[in-house]
């Protein structure tokens, strides 16, 4: 039986590490720029996209390796991938803005391969939300050299924190029993929000001169560093938006030149309830995976048309799989579920490529199929995001990092 499992498995990682010159021949090129091609070629050289042209099927004398599939899109971007565990957050303080999650990431972890199998090539890795302000997230490629530094697209990309009950989960008030590490602030939603405001006001009023996180908070309040805040429920989304509006309107922040923070609400399951609130402040959101029975974490309710509601309201949004290794919960499926909720294909594509790339500030390198961008490509067996379509190959920086297996024909991609 060992023979069987070796013979019939998906090849998880291709052997070569050098970027090759590729000619990708497909029926559909979905560039993500609005200009799609029927029967097109994407040419790759030196790890970059060198051409996107019509003309699949024609003989040519390029020395390139040829891959054929039904469709090609840019590599998917997940702005909410949850590949970190509790070791990614230093819990000796509630607010640790200066800590870098990059220092805790393991380039050998299996999560990266799982993402490659689902066509995800760029992710935002964040500390888990056990702190109110957990630290600095990093944007990195899912395939590449086995070193986090070499895979990094953007270090210190965003400041990560959380509203809601998660940062206070497990903490308890001190009275009644001997104090321990967890009898500490915050123990309530109020306490969590107070930590945010405390950190922001201290920064604006320069009361935290000694704090190693001060420079990070200054950059965040000046809008140089996006602030990703987890907020599942309407209640917590409101708290985050009102916090932002408070920073924008209070004289203390204006006087310090720190009144232009850029907020992104992460895991905003209930964003559909008050889209006008997000539209008013043009606060982008990252949506969590669609739940199967309506309700998801923090007892929030996530409607299947949430993406369409946000689209109609003019709120920028990205989709996320939260790093699930389950086949049916991968990022491409999330795009499909958003379509089931009424979102159009192009908008669904944007929500898993160009929009998250823009939210993370890496749109100059990834997110669309354009000449000069990183050769991060996903090859599909059919129309992308349909459950009957799968990722047949994933290319990162010109290197074939995942090649699927077809249960009937053997190779999933034609050469």
């Amino acid at each position: 039986m060992t023979f069987l499992s070796v013979a019939l498995v998906a090849l998880s990682v291709a052997q070569d590490a050098e970027p090759r010159a590729w000619t990708i021949q497909v029926e559909r090129v979905y560039t993500g720029t609005g200009r799609n091609l029927e029967k097109g070629l994407v040419l790759v050289s030196a790890g970059k996209i060198s051409a996107v042209t019509p003309g699949a099927g024609e003989e040519d004398d390029r020395p390139n390796d040829v891959l054929k599939a039904y469709a090609v899109t840019a590599g998917l971007v997940d702005a909410g991938v949850r590949v970190t565990n509790w070791q990614s957050v230093e819990q000796s303080k509630e607010v640790t803005p200066h800590l870098r999650v990059a220092d805790t990431l393991d380039p050998f972890a299996l999560d990266w391969d799982r993402q490659l199998r689902g066509g995800v090539t760029t992710v935002l890795a964040s500390p888990v939300d056990r702190n109110v302000i957990g630290g600095l997230s990093v944007v990195l490629k899912t395939g590449g050299p086995e070193s986090i530094a070499d895979r990094t697209v953007k270090a210190d990309a965003v400041l990560r924190g959380s509203m809601g009950s998660e940062p206070s989960a497990g903490n308890h008030p001190a009275f009644g029993r001997p104090t321990d590490f967890f009898s500490r602030r915050p123990t309530t939603r109020m306490g969590v929000e107070w930590e945010w405001r405390n950190a922001f006001f201290d920064t604006a009023l320069n009361l935290n001169e000694e704090d190693p996180g001060r420079a990070t908070l200054v950059a965040a309040l000046q809008g140089k560093l996006p602030i990703f805040i987890q907020a599942w429920t309407t209640q917590d989304i409101r708290t985050a938006v009102f916090l932002r509006e408070e920073v924008e309107s209070r004289p203390e922040f204006a006087a310090a030149g720190m009144n232009t923070p850029r907020f992104v609400i992460d895991a905003a399951a209930e964003a559909w309830k008050e889209p006008q609130l997000l539209a008013r402040s043009q606060t982008p959101v990252v949506l969590p995976p669609f739940p199967t029975a309506g309700r998801t974490r923090e007892n929030s309710q996530m409607a299947w048309n949430v993406a369409k509601v946000l689209k109609d309201a003019g709120v920028p949004f990205a989709l996320s799989s939260h790093g699930s290794g389950d086949v049916e919960q991968r990022l491409a499926n999330q795009a499909g579920y958003a379509m089931a909720g009424g979102l159009g294909f192009e908008d669904a594509l944007a929500a898993v490529t160009s929009t998250p790339a823009r939210l993370l500030g890496v749109e100059d390198r990834v997110g669309t199929l354009e000449v000069g961008k990183d050769a991060d490509l996903v090859l599909w067996s059919g129309e992308p995001f349909q459950p009957g379509t799968r990722v047949v190959a994933t290319i990162v920086d010109g290197v074939l990092r995942y090649e699927g297996w077809n249960a009937v024909q053997g190779a999933a991609i034609a050469r």
Partner: protein
């Protein structure tokens, strides 16, 4: 409000949302003509602009001719007609799926199925029109399952086939493999000993079995219970002189197991891995029910695909179609697409839903297509094959003359993510209309219902199904709440 009260209200409003049928209409003697843009018959080529004519709950004709017009007409040129999906095995929809008795062949899900469970409602919404409800895997012999339709307020209304098969679990989570396998084997040994004791007692002139039978309410003198019928079929083991025992004297706790050995009942044998498959096949051979065995697979059971092919039994696949193994040496994950293995080995396989809503049978079939299974085979694995496995192939699985009048009306390709079930016709009655489905709006559009709160609906994680059904109903139930309190 007590649980019973909640259930009662829930039931009442569900029928409102899911189209109540008057008793006359339920009889299935109505005539219905369904005109659609496309009929996917699964019994030949698709038919463009066709009409399905249903009478007495059965399909009378399928074709392009206008048919007879003495029927109620459903005319939807924009929709596609598709046969209902068939769930070959499910442990949902019950009060609780497991009993605390190790060997319980006498139990029947009939007494456990909750007709107003959210699961059945969701099945209807997803177009799953036949479900083999079976016990869970915590007993050695779990009891008898039942094939039901997801509509009706009583078990009898819902039933397609009673006592569809016995649930047997070769391994049980948290228990040693040896102990569980032994428990299954012992169940058959106990049956044999019981039969031998009946013969022995008869020889010694004791009539305890007869008295016990009368006590249990069975008359051993009735025709079907009479002498000479105590064991039929080709069981590999026989009990000498069993002919002298009237069937009615066999203990009712043992009788279903005897029916299995006689080949009169099917066995749905849960195998959590390859090792369980080998044990399951051995036990089935030893006791003569291999021909009636369906293996319900999980984990790495696919690694025994050769053995399964050799035994010629069909399988119901685990909902996780992609099995992930960790290579013990490299630590890397190795993915195997399970349906591909069974297709290659020419084993008949049926798919199972991953859950009742987002990843129902259509999704599973679509996933198969993504991994290279030809489309017709993938669809068959959730329609025809499970219908055949459940021995209901003459009634379910395709749109053909003579089959049950079960039709889904879809607004697109059956396997597309954007497609949804618009209408369900069950036994010739329209039992679901998406435009009147309150909960689909809650799930899809997030329509908040006033007073929405958690409700005890069996699955526990759902929003209140009845608060939004109608304003009048709302006020009423609110008022009765207060009175109760």
């Amino acid at each position: 409000m007590t649980t019973t009260m909640k259930r009662a209200t829930c039931a009442a409003t569900l029928t409102a949302a899911f189209l109540s049928l008057s008793p006359e209409a339920r009889a299935g003697d109505g005539r219905l003509a369904i005109k659609v843009g496309r009929i996917v018959t699964l019994a030949g080529p698709d038919i463009e602009n066709g009409t399905i004519y249903i009478e007495g709950g059965r399909i009378v004709s399928v074709g392009t001719d206008g048919g007879r017009w003495d029927a109620e007409v459903i005319d939807h040129p924009e929709l596609t007609a598709f046969p209902g999906w068939v769930e070959a095995h499910s442990t949902r929809g019950m009060d609780r799926p497991n009993e605390n008795i190790e060997v319980a062949p006498f139990l029947d899900v009939r007494d456990s199925i909750d007709p107003i469970n959210f699961y059945f409602e969701d099945c209807l919404r997803q177009g799953v029109l036949a479900i083999n409800v079976q016990q869970g895997n915590l007993c050695a012999i779990g009891g008898q399952g039942r094939v039901v339709k997801p509509f009706g307020l009583t078990i009898e209304d819902m039933t397609l086939r009673p006592s569809s098969g016995l649930k047997i679990a070769i391994a049980r989570p948290g228990r040693s493999r040896a102990l569980q396998a032994q428990a299954v084997r012992r169940a058959f040994r106990d049956l044999r000993q019981h039969l031998e004791k009946l013969v022995q007692d008869k020889k010694e002139g004791k009539d305890t079995a007869r008295r016990e039978a009368l006590f249990q309410g069975r008359d051993p003198d009735k025709d079907e219970n009479k002498k000479g019928r105590a064991m039929e079929g080709n069981a590999p083991w026989k009990v000498a002189n069993l002919e002298s025992i009237p069937r009615g004297e066999v203990d009712e706790k043992q009788e279903p197991l005897l029916r299995l050995v006689e080949g009169k009942m099917m066995a749905f044998v849960a195998c959590d891995g390859a090792i369980s498959v080998v044990q399951a096949l051995d036990i089935a051979r030893e006791n003569g029910f291999l021909a009636n065995t369906v293996l319900v697979l999980d984990g790495d059971a696919w690694k025994a695909a050769d053995r399964i092919a050799e035994a010629g039994v069909p399988v119901v696949l685990a909902p996780q179609l992609l099995h992930v193994d960790r290579d013990p040496i490299t630590g890397k994950e190795v993915e195997t697409f399970v349906p591909g293995i069974f297709r290659e080995k020419k084993v008949r396989f049926a798919l199972q839903s991953l859950n009742s809503s987002a990843q129902s049978l259509w999704f599973q079939a679509a996933t198969c297509v993504g991994y290279g299974i030809p489309r017709d085979e993938a669809i068959a694995a959730a329609t025809k094959v499970p219908a055949d496995i459940l021995r209901l192939g003459d009634r379910l699985g395709s749109i053909e003359k003579g089959k049950d009048g079960n039709i889904l009306l879809l607004n697109g390709d059956p396997l597309a993510v954007t497609t949804s079930v618009q209408f369900v016709v069950l036994d010739g009655n329209v039992v679901y209309d998406r435009s009147k489905d309150v909960r689909v709006r809650q799930i899809l559009e997030g329509v908040e219902q006033p007073n929405a709160s958690a409700v005890d609906s069996g699955d526990g994680d759902d929003v209140d199904p009845h608060s939004g059904a109608s304003k009048g109903g709302d006020k009423k139930s609110g008022a009765s709440d207060k009175k109760k309190d």
